[in-house]
C-alpha cells in the first residue's frame, strides 16, 4: 500500500503530501541551500540573528493566522503596530512604562474589536481593515505630529534587547505566544469555533455558535498581537516614528499563507505559520548574506507570495 503510493506519484498524491509535510520540506531544503551558498548561515550567531529578526513578523503572523482561519483578512496590523508604538512612547514619558504598555495593548485590542464588529456588520474584511488601516495610520501622524518619539525608561530595553540565557527576548516572547496560540486554537472551544466559522459560517450559526463573538475575538487577537509586536519592536529600537510598521501586514499575510492557511478559511495551523515565518526570514537572510540589493529582495518576496497562494489554489482544486 505504502509502496504503491510512492510509485504512483500522481498529482493527487503530490497535493496530499504537500499539504501535510510540504512546507516543512521546503524549509529543510531552504536551510540546506542557504548553508551551501554561504556556510556562515548555519553558525549559532546567525541563526539567533535570524530568529530575532523574524520574531516581530512572527508575532504579527500569529494574529493573522487567527483572522485568516476565521475566513477573513486583517490589513491593519502594520499600522496598528506603528500607532501603538507611538502611544506607548508618548504615555511612557508621563505615566511610566507599565501603564503605557497596558494602554498600548488595550489600544490594539480596541482596533481589533472595531474591525471584527465592522466585518460582522457585513463589510468585506478587505475594505473594513483597509479603512481602519488608514485611520490608525492617520492617528499615528496626529498624535506624533509626524515626529519620531524616543522611549524614556531604561528598563523598557529589556523586552527587545535583553536575553534569557542565550536566547534573545523577542524570540522568547514569540515562542511563548506561539505555544499559547496553538493551545487556544486546538484545545479550546473558542479556538475550535474560529475554525468552524471560517469553514462554514452558516452551519456554525445554526449549530449555536455566536458568530459575532468569534469574529470580534479573532480580530481582537490580531490587534493584541500587533500591540505586543509594537512593544517588542520599539523596545529594540528604543524609539518609534509614524512610519514604523508600515506595510508589515504583507509579510504577515505571506507567512500565514505560505504556512498553509487557506484564504477560504477553516484551515491552517499556527505551527505551520511559524514555518512560513521562518521561510520568509531565511530567504531575506540569505539574500542579505549574498548582498543582493533590497530592491531585488522585494521582487523575490513578492514572487514567493505569488507562489505560495498559487500552490494553495492548486492544491484545493
Amino acid at each position: 500500500m505504502e509502496k504503491s503510493k510512492k510509485i504512483h506519484l500522481g498529482s493527487e498524491n503530490i497535493k496530499q503530501l504537500y499539504s501535510e509535510y510540504g512546507i516543512v520540506m521546503v524549509l529543510i531544503l531552504l536551510i540546506i541551500v542557504a548553508t551551501a551558498l554561504n556556510p556562515i548561515f548555519i553558525s549559532g550567531s546567525n541563526i539567533m540573528n535570524v530568529l530575532r529578526q523574524v520574531s516581530i513578523n512572527g508575532i504579527l503572523s500569529i494574529g493573522m493566522t487567527f483572522v485568516i482561519i476565521s475566513g477573513c483578512i486583517d490589513l491593519s496590523v502594520g499600522n496598528v503596530l506603528g500607532c501603538t508604538g507611538l502611544i506607548v512612547m508618548i504615555l511612557m514619558e508621563r505615566f511610566g512604562m507599565v501603564p503605557a504598555i497596558l494602554a498600548g495593548l488595550a489600544f490594539g485590542m480596541l482596533v481589533g474589536v472595531v474591525n471584527g464588529w465592522g466585518v460582522h456588520q457585513g463589510l468585506p474584511a478587505f475594505i473594513m481593515t483597509l479603512a481602519s488601516q488608514q485611520m490608525v495610520k492617520g492617528l499615528g501622524y496626529v498624535i506624533s505630529n509626524g515626529q519620531p518619539f524616543s522611549a524614556t525608561d531604561e528598563a523598557y530595553k529589556l523586552i527587545g534587547q535583553g536575553f534569557m540565557w542565550i536566547i534573545p527576548m523577542p524570540v522568547v516572547v514569540f515562542a511563548v505566544l506561539v505555544i499559547i496560540a496553538w493551545f487556544v486554537l486546538t484545545r479550546t472551544r473558542i479556538g475550535r469555533s474560529v475554525y468552524a466559522v471560517g469553514g462554514n459560517q452558516e452551519a456554525s450559526r445554526l449549530s449555536g455558535i455566536n458568530i459575532r463573538k468569534i469574529r470580534i475575538f479573532a480580530y481582537m487577537v490580531s490587534g493584541l498581537m500587533s500591540a505586543v509586536a509594537a512593544v517588542v519592536l520599539t523596545s529594540r529600537l528604543y524609539s518609534c516614528d509614524p512610519l514604523t510598521g508600515d506595510n508589515y501586514q504583507s509579510d504577515a499575510i505571506a507567512a500565514t499563507v505560505i504556512g498553509g492557511c487557506s484564504m477560504a478559511g477553516g484551515e491552517g495551523s499556527v505551527l505551520k505559520t511559524v514555518v512560513g515565518v521562518l521561510i520568509i526570514g531565511i530567504i531575506s537572510n540569505i539574500l542579505n548574506l549574498l548582498q543582493v540589493s533590497s530592491y531585488l529582495q522585494m521582487i523575490a518576496k513578492g514572487f514567493i507570495i505569488f507562489l505560495a497562494v498559487f500552490i494553495d489554489v492548486w492544491k484545493n482544486k
Binding site: R189, Y195, A203, R205, S207, G208
Partner: protein, 499 residues
Amino acid sequence: MENTIPVLEIKNVSKSFPGVKALQNVSLTAYKGECLALIGENGAGKSTLMKILSGAYSMDEGEIYIEGKKVNIHNPAEGQKAGVGVIYQELSLVRQFTAVENLFLGRWETAPGGVVKWKEMKKQVEDFYKSLGLHFNLNVPVGRLSVAQCQLIEITRAVFMNSKIIVMDEPTSSLTNTEVEILFDLMKRLQSQGITIIFISHKLEELFRACERVYVMKDGCNAGEFQLRDINKDTLVRAMVGRELKNYYPRKTNTPSDKVVLEVKDVDDGKMVHGVSFQVHAGEILGFSGLVGAGRTETMRAIFKAEPKAKGHVYIDGQEVSIKSPADAIRHGIAFATEDRRYEGLVLPLSVAHNISMANFDSICNKAGFINLRKERALAEKYKDNFNIRTPDVNKKVGELSGGNQQKVVVAKWMNTNVRVFIFDEPTRGIDVGAKAEIYQLMVDIAAQGNAVIMVSSELPEVLGVSDRILIMREGKITGELLAHEADEESIISFAIGG
C-alpha cells in the same frame, strides 16, 4: 404531425459516481416537435441524464445521436453546438445586460474594427420575438424584468442559438399561474416550429397539460414510457415509486403517546409563513408535505430562529420557551438538520469528529472551555459505530465522505445535543437508496426514545412510509392533516394544490 422523425436518440447510456450507479443502460428517443415529459423521484437520474446531454458531465458508456448523426459532447459549448439547450432552475442571464445583449452573449456581431452592431442585433431580436408573438422591453437590463420574463428570455435564448432540443428543468417552480400559462403557450409555439422540448417537472398536473409523452426514470433506469392520454396519475405514480415499500421503510417499534413535546402557535415570518400552529407528541414522527415554496422549510427556520425576524410562540413539554437565536433553540432541545447539508449543515474542511462535537462543546469541554481530545475522539467513535458512518478515520475531513455518510454525521451532531425535538428537512435529498433506509431507521429510533420528530419532505412515498401523522402546507398555511394509515398520495396532493 411530424412526430415520427427522431431528433434525439440516447442509446444505452451509463454513468457512475463514486459509490453510486447514477444511470444504467438508459435509452430514450425524442421526436421532432414533441414535448416529452421526464419524471422520476429525486435521485432517479433525470438531471444526470440531462447533464450528460448538455455536456456538463461525460458518460461512461453509450451513444447519443442528434438528427441521426452520432455526436460526442464533452462540454457545454459542444452541447450548444450540437443543438441542445438546457434551461436550469437558476437563471444564467447577465442581470446587468439587456435582452439583446443576453441573446447575443459571447457572439456579438461586429463591424470591422470591433465596433458592435447594436442596431442590427436589436432588429434581429425584435423580429425574432415578433415571430414568437412575445414582447419584452429590450432597453432595460433583464434584472429589472420579472422572474417570469427572465425565464422566457432564457428559453428563447436557447431557441435563438438554434437549439433543436430544449431541456427545461422545473421551469414552473418560480412562476405564478398566469405566468405558467404564458410559458405553456410559448412551448406550443416552439413545438409548432419543430423544436423538441424535454420537460422535467414534479407537478404531474402540468405534465398532463403540456406534454404528449412521458418517460419515467427510477434508480437510474427506464421505468416506463407512456402516451399521456392513455394513462392517469395513478399509473404514473406507480411507475415512479414502484419499489417494494415494505422493507424499504423501517418498522415502527413504538406508538406515539398523548404527551405533547412541542407545540408552536402563530409562527409567522412575514414572508412565506402565515400563522402556523401545530403540536408534536412524544414518540411521534410528524411529516410535513406540500409543494416546493409552500413554506415548510421557512416554518422550521422560524421555529429554530434561523430567521431573526420570525415570530411565534414555542412550548416544549408544556413550558413556553423564549428562543432568540439558534443557540437558544439548541439549549431548549431543538435539533434542526437543514435541507442543504453542504452549505448549512457541515463544516466541510473540518474532520468528522470536529463536526460531531460542534453543536455541543459542553460534551467535550471542561468548565474553562478546554477541549478533551480523547473524549471527543471517543464520542466520534461511538457515533461512527452506532450510526454506521463509513469513514476510515474520524479525523478524516467530512467533505470527503459520501452524501449519505455526511447526512449521518449531521444526525450525529444533533444527537449529541440534549435533543427533545428533532427536525429533519429533506433528510434524504441526494443520497443513495441504501443510505436512505439507514436514515429512516435512525429517525424511527430517535422517536422511539420518546422524542418528537418532524420530517419535512417533498418525496411523497417517504412521507407516507415514515410518518405517523402528516400535515400539508400550502402558501404558508397548514391546509390539511392526515393520519398516515388513512393518507395516500392523492389525498396529500389534493391538500397541497388546493383542489
